[in-house]
Amino acid sequence: MMFEPFQRLTSRTIVLSQENIDTDQIIPARFLTTTSKEGLGQSVFFDWRYNTEGRLRNDSPLDGFAPSEFEILVAGPNFGCGSSREHAPWALSDFGFRAVVSSDIADIFKSNALKNGLLPVEVDKKTHQQLMKTPGAEVTIDLESQTVRIGHDWQTVFEVEAFARRCLLDGVDPLGHLIKQLPTIEAYERRRDEL
């Protein structure tokens, strides 16, 4: 199965500077009763964006602009901690984000995001601080060279798991890779059965 490849992204940033933004903030559990991946963007950070009557408050950094111009979310450390719900990256992607940048991103969130074309980027503390204090900055994320550039005079590199990077660059999903391993998986099962 093919996805839109992720190679290079230039966009402006939205900053949510809080530490430990957990998946219950990203998408509250009451929206998890869906059986599809679609349409979760409208519920992203719902309790931060809507009042108790369900009206948009319009005072969140996430509202009052064209999402297509702001495809990079910069967040405080330990972003995406908490549950394994893949609804969190689905919701962020559906809202319009294509990358999340932090100094420290939670494991399961990172793994889920990589499988959904949402690039989790962990940068050094100095770069993170620079991004945190310049909301709206124009940032370029190049996955091929694994670099993040802020404006014209700030550039740094980031790490990303090699296989997930390849899948994103080529726009392929890893299930195909696993299905190709089926003969090896069957051989493993036979070996175990003989023990």
Binding site: G82, R85, L175, L178
Partner: protein
């Protein structure tokens, strides 16, 4: 194979189908795949789109727990679902399981319950196995010396289709707990004390082995509580080496090996423990004898302190923001805070020993006027066992509600939740903002502390209720 392997190294090595390389993660074999209604529908959709079948329905088992009501059906047999979507989600799993020949412990099944309660209960969870579930608290099963971890929905699809996941080996951490837990101090308190010590991201990128004399003397229920909370320190994997306590617990359960097969299995399980000189990337020591009953006071599980202490002054903007949300005044004892609701349940603390510990405090006492107390057993089986001991009578006579099994107020997606501004003392695992309902303030605690708080109507120390026969 070298003789300096940790439990984790051994479990990992035994399940490698294709080894890890710089270019790709290991293909890791999965022995048990647990499925529930919330994180599976989109995975089944991907299978349908690709025309792929579930490869090993015999290694897959499903239950209904997150979206299911904990109130019984009405006279027409209709369950009070929170929303039509919740009902549809339940029906979707029923259809998917029927279509793919997966055993579903569905509504009305005597073995239904919270996914991390029923796996061990049925003997499905065993030492040496790899266990996954689309749920971050899958680390619970690590209590048996299993390699158990939470996965996302895409990976649920991978396991359904191939019985494998792609995974790079994380670093290893050993947390050695020595010293005897004091009376009134439970595994939950130990877990909260560890998380407070290492931080909500202290275990990120690590597989944690809990070791030491304190852990060896914990019951299986206690070990499950401890491993369950690993993810609240950021670790996907938490585990305890299997020992006699483990073997005794597993033996005789429905899916456990029987007779000679059990003897052979126990011999295999005995060698899983970490070698004496095993290497760990990080090691932490905890003096368990110094731990008091713990409560959380913020919006992250690492904001935890002894129940008899006072609200610490905020040291950062984050802590300030958390203190404002919690409405706890600095320097005030925690016991100054009035409680609106108490929740006893969840995959962390809904097992029989948890219910006994809460009942020991509630017996012959009354829940404070105005406090709503919910007791939700982890499974149908626990419900039956508790009722056979008349624990339900203790709760009901105290003025608490005795409900049907499920995740209930831990994730608050089935309609069981608090109201904005309410303070809930909860035996669950997460105190995130809004986790138990929009605007709800959550205090995490042990079943004994939750029960004591229900009685007093404020955050309360369970130790004052300790008396002969009150085993908390």
């Amino acid at each position: 194979m070298n003789n300096r392997q940790s439990l984790f190294d051994k479990l990992w090595e035994q399940h490698i189908v294709v080894p890890e390389t710089p270019e790709s993660p290991a293909v890791l074999y999965i022995d048990l795949h647990l499925v529930h209604e919330v994180t599976s529908p989109q995975a089944f959709t991907v299978l349908a789109e690709r025309g792929v079948k579930v490869r090993r329905p015999d290694l897959t088992i499903a239950t209904l727990d997150h979206s299911t009501p904990t109130l019984p059906a009405n006279e027409n047999g209709e369950l009070p679902y929170a929303t039509p979507a919740a009902k549809e989600q339940v029906e979707t799993l029923i259809e998917n399981c029927a279509h793919h020949n997966i055993r579903l412990l569905g509504l009305g099944d005597p073995d239904r319950g919270i996914v991390h309660v029923i796996g061990p209960e049925l003997g499905l969870t065993q030492p040496g196995k790899t266990v996954v579930c689309g749920d971050s608290h899958t680390s619970t099963h690590g209590a048996f010396g299993a390699l158990a971890f939470g996965i996302g929905t895409t990976e649920v699809g991978h396991v359904l289709a191939s019985q494998c996941v792609l995974q790079r080996k994380p670093k290893s951490m050993r947390i050695v707990c020595d010293g005897e837990l004091q009376p009134g101090v439970a595994a939950k308190d130990l877990a909260l004390a560890i998380i407070a010590e290492i931080g909500a991201d202290g275990g990120q990128g690590f597989a944690i082995e809990f070791a030491g004399e304190t852990v060896r003397t914990l019951s299986m229920e206690g070990r499950m509580t401890l491993c369950n909370m690993s993810i609240e320190a950021g670790a996907r994997f938490g585990m305890v080496a299997p020992d006699e306590t483990t073997f005794e617990w597993v033996a005789g359960r429905e899916y456990a090996p029987k007779g000679e097969a059990l003897e052979k299995a126990i011999n295999d399980w005995k060698v899983l423990a970490s070698d004496e000189d095993a290497d760990f990337d990080k090691e932490i020591k905890i003096d368990a004898s110094a731990i008091a009953p713990m409560v959380t006071f913020g919006v992250s599980p690492d904001a935890a302190a002894p129940v008899d202490s006072e609200m610490p002054a905020a040291q950062s903007n984050v802590e300030q923001h958390a203190a404002e949300y919690m409405k706890f005044d600095p320097q005030q004892p925690f016991s100054a805070n009035a409680v609106d609701r108490v929740f006893i349940g969840s995959c962390t603390n809904s097992r029989l020993s948890d219910l006994r510990s809460a009942a020991a405090i509630m017996r012959g006492r009354k829940v404070k006027d105005g406090v709503v107390a919910l007791v939700v057993p982890g499974s149908e089986s626990i419900k039956r066992e508790a009722e056979a001991e008349n624990l339900h009578t203790v709760f009901i006579e105290a003025g608490a509600e005795w409900r049907e099994p499920g995740c209930s107020m831990c994730i608050a997606m089935n309609g069981d939740q608090g109201l904005p501004g309410e303070l809930v003392v909860s035996t669950s695992n997460r105190n995130f903002i809004g986790r138990q309902g929009k605007g709800v303030r959550t205090v995490l605690a042990s079943p004994a502390t939750a029960a004591a708080s229900a009685i007093e109507g404020r955050i309360a120390d369970p130790r004052k209720y300790l008396e002969a026969g009150n085993d908390v």
